[in-house]
């Protein structure tokens, strides 16, 4: 069965919210494992895990060093070197946050790497989200490879002109300007022409719009989305009620 983009989005967002609200590392780990399995079944495991690793590796490392070594609130001291104290509480805090963030990142990446962007854009337009939002989303994804190719072309053209990227920091910064200026100028000029073309084709004109691309939205999926939203809202409310802070009076 093909998922409506909103169904996938709701499932991912609700899972992320509920995991954040629950704040329990076993649950976070379970979400990580479940997401990895789903990603493997959708044949995107490699890309999802790679993108997640690029994001999460520095964060996890930073958390481990930060809370593992310096956690003034910690009481159970496991080891101590000068100002650095390894505490059980600190390690647990790092574990909690690392697993929680990993779970949220993975589940959202699973959504973005499996969703059909054209379907998402047309579903958004059908819900009278301003067409501008769909434009920014879809146009960005089209532009990423185009701009990368353009930067490559500029580099080649300038190397062929005898411009070398070398020397100290300042001279390299200066050389970067040479690449940035043609890139930015070309992109702004192209964008100007694209704006003229879009307006000529009626984009941004007031009045009703229609949608050419048809996206199935079976009733079952609507029910699923409603249930998921209610459950996530309950998780948030429970968390807020459970730990509403008492504002400390001075």
């Amino acid at each position: 069965m093909r998922l409506h983009p909103f169904t996938a989005l709701t499932a991912a967002a609700c899972t992320a919210v509920a995991t954040t609200a629950a704040a329990s590392w076993p649950l976070s780990v379970a979400v990580v494992v479940a997401t990895a399995v789903l990603a493997a079944r959708a044949r995107v495991a490699g890309r999802v895990l790679f993108a997640a690793a690029v994001t999460m590796a520095p964060l996890c490392l930073s958390l481990l060093v930060l809370h593992g070594l310096f956690f003034p609130e910690g009481r159970t001291v496991l080891a101590e070197w000068g100002p650095a104290r390894v505490t059980a509480e600190g390690l647990e805090f790092a574990l909690d946050l690392a697993t929680r963030t990993s779970a949220c990142v993975l589940v959202l990446l699973l959504f973005s790497f499996t969703v059909s962007v054209p379907d998402l854009v047309s579903a958004l337009a059908a819900r009278s989200v301003p067409p501008q939002f769909g434009f920014v989303l879809a146009s960005t994804l089209t532009l990423v490879p185009a701009i990368a190719a353009r930067l490559d072309r500029i580099r080649q053209a300038q190397e062929a002109r005898g411009l070398l990227l070398r020397g100290g920091l300042l001279s390299r910064l200066g050389a970067l300007r040479l690449q940035m200026v043609p890139l930015v100028l070309g992109l702004i000029d192209d964008a100007g022409i694209r704006a003229q073309a879009l307006e000529a084709r009626g984009f941004g004109a007031p009045g009703p719009h229609t949608i050419f691309r048809h996206v199935e939205d079976p009733p079952r999926q609507r029910i699923f989305r409603a249930v998921a939203l209610v459950l996530a809202a309950m998780a948030v409310v429970l968390r807020l009620l459970a730990s509403w802070p008492e504002v400390a009076s001075p």
């Binding site: 002109r161 040479l178 009626g202």
Partner: protein, 507 residues
């Protein structure tokens, strides 16, 4: 045009100046276009023909994009502009539904947010609230009209140049406009693509659409037109029937190329080099070079690769020579050029510059001896004025005064002395190409390599380029140019080679 014909579009542009522009882009241009007619607006690079097309079609609008004085009249609805705040504001969605413009770069017409050809065609209808059933019908009909029915489910990004151009026309005609303005509709299309485009335009005219083509050469479309307008420096210098304009001094002065190949632009083949080639050392040499792009499946590099572009290729260049290398698209011309300065490295064989192998030299280092000029000058230019652009990096080599003198001399060589303080991006495309050439010449490389130098140049540009190249050769530089334009190659070069099955052979 007789008084009995009802004009579809009538324009009297006294003056149009871009915001931030120092001089008007258009001055004193009037035209009247009847339904079912074909009009050609001819002009050289920077003549203002694209600006005119965009003003007619509501892409450039009074107040919004610049200051306009004059009037536009569409089927009897007349709008007068005085360049003041109280001027009428054109509704682009409605005006452009009836007067459509298709830019030279067809990709600029596309929304970039639709994933199939069918959806791209429907984009303009969606924005105007056309019911879905009507859109399905209109898309089918438009696709049949432009010959893309078989490609409706393709991603627009995967279309060929000719298909893309037809899709852009399809996006315009799907709203059934009365007037269609096409900017260089045949540019960089191969023979088959150009024939298809010309047929499409003929059928539109037959259906009663008023078509205006903008061009810098008297090509097959211009010859079919019933009315010509010559633009020069933003001013309409001549208008009338082709027979009346052909051979007129105005057309001659405008820099319009008289036929598509650049051959006609040059009077005769240049004289051969002034000295005996046998006596001087080779400055660029390729010895048994082979090159292949990596296969989709990792294969062994070397002679056995299936997608080899060049095989056992030998080539040598001596000072003072001008060599043209021709071949169809995809024959490996650009690949060969990139081997000269190390942007690409051969799979086997050796590239020697001035007697030394460049195998272990960085591209930037080779560039001191081999100056390479690509098709897109915009990618190479980054300074605030033309002079600074050419002078860039020369100071370390020649000192402040020497750099200045060298830069001015290079600008002089390409005929751009008058533009020394102009921002490179404000120059017309033809002159940008010449400026990029000047920046290569100023560094005084022994070898100058040019990629498709004649494409997109008007006649003035082709002439200046030819002169600059001959002067460089006369000073003892070796020049290689690759082109798909065999006529241009014959007139521009002393020696002609053709790429055939990965090797070079004399023509």
């Amino acid at each position: 045009m007789t008084a009995a014909t009802r004009a579809a579009l009538r324009a009297g542009i006294d003056e149009f100046t871009f915001h931030g522009g120092t001089a008007p882009a258009l001055r004193g241009v009037g035209l009247e276009i009847a339904p079912g007619s074909l009009t050609a607006v001819l002009g050289g690079s920077g003549s203002g023909k694209s600006t005119l097309g965009k003003v007619l079609a509501g892409w450039l609008r009074a107040g919004h994009s610049g200051a306009l004085r004059g009037s536009l009249e569409l089927f009897g609805t007349r709008l007068d502009f005085r360049g003041s705040a109280g001027d009428p504001r054109i509704n682009p969605a409605e005006w452009s539904r009836r007067v459509c413009f298709v830019p030279q770069d067809a990709a600029a017409m596309l929304s970039t947010v639709r994933s199939t050809v069918a959806e791209e065609l429907a984009f303009g209808l969606e924005n105007r609230g056309t019911p879905r059933q009507d859109m399905l019908v209109a898309v089918e009909r438009a696709a049949a009209g432009i010959g893309l029915s078989a490609l409706l489910d393709r991603d627009p990004a995967t279309l060929s140049g000719g298909e893309l151009r037809r899709l852009a026309v399809g996006c315009a005609v799907i709203t059934e406009p009365d007037v269609l303005v096409l900017d260089e509709p045949l540019a960089s299309l191969d023979a088959a693509g150009a024939a298809q485009m010309a047929d499409l335009i003929r059928s539109l005219v037959a259906r009663g659409v008023a078509v205006v083509v903008l061009g810098h050469s008297v090509d097959r479309l211009a010859l079919q037109a019933g009315h010509w307008i010559v633009l020069d420096g933003g001013i309409a210098t001549a208008a009338g029937s082709p027979a009346h304009i052909m051979g007129s001094p105005e057309l001659d002065a405008s820099g319009v190329r008289l036929s598509a190949p650049a051959a006609s632009a040059l009077p005769a083949a240049p004289p051969g080099p002034a000295f005996n080639l046998g006596d001087v050392p080779v400055i660029l040499e390729l010895q048994g070079v082979g090159f292949g792009y990596p296969a989709a499946s990792p294969g062994r590099p070397g002679r056995a690769t299936e997608n080899a572009v060049l095989r056992d290729l030998d080539f040598s260049l001596r000072p003072g020579e001008i060599v043209a290398i021709t071949g169809p698209n995809g024959a490996g011309k650009s690949t060969l050029l990139r081997l000269f300065n190390g942007l690409l490295r051969p799979s086997y064989g050796d590239v020697r510059v001035g007697g030394n192998s460049i195998a272990s030299m960085p591209v930037g280092g080779v560039a001191a001896s081999v100056g390479l000029l690509f098709q897109q000058p915009r990618d190479q230019l980054f300074e605030r004025t033309a002079l600074r652009e050419v002078r860039f990096g020369l100071r370390q080599l020649l000192g402040s005064e020497g750099a200045d003198a060298r830069a001015r001399a290079a600008l002089e060589d390409v005929g751009l002395s008058a533009a020394a303080s102009v921002h490179p991006a404000d120059l017309p495309a033809s002159q940008q190409r010449l400026l990029a050439l000047a920046s290569v010449l100023a560094r005084d490389p022994a070898v100058i390599a040019l990629d498709e130098p004649s494409v997109g140049l008007d006649r003035h540009g082709v002439e200046r380029l030819g002169r600059a190249v001959e002067q460089a050769a006369a000073r003892g530089k070796g020049v290689v140019l690759v082109t798909h334009d065999a006529g241009y190659a014959r007139t521009a070069a002393y020696r002609n080679l053709q790429i055939d099955a990965g090797r070079l052979r004399e023509v």
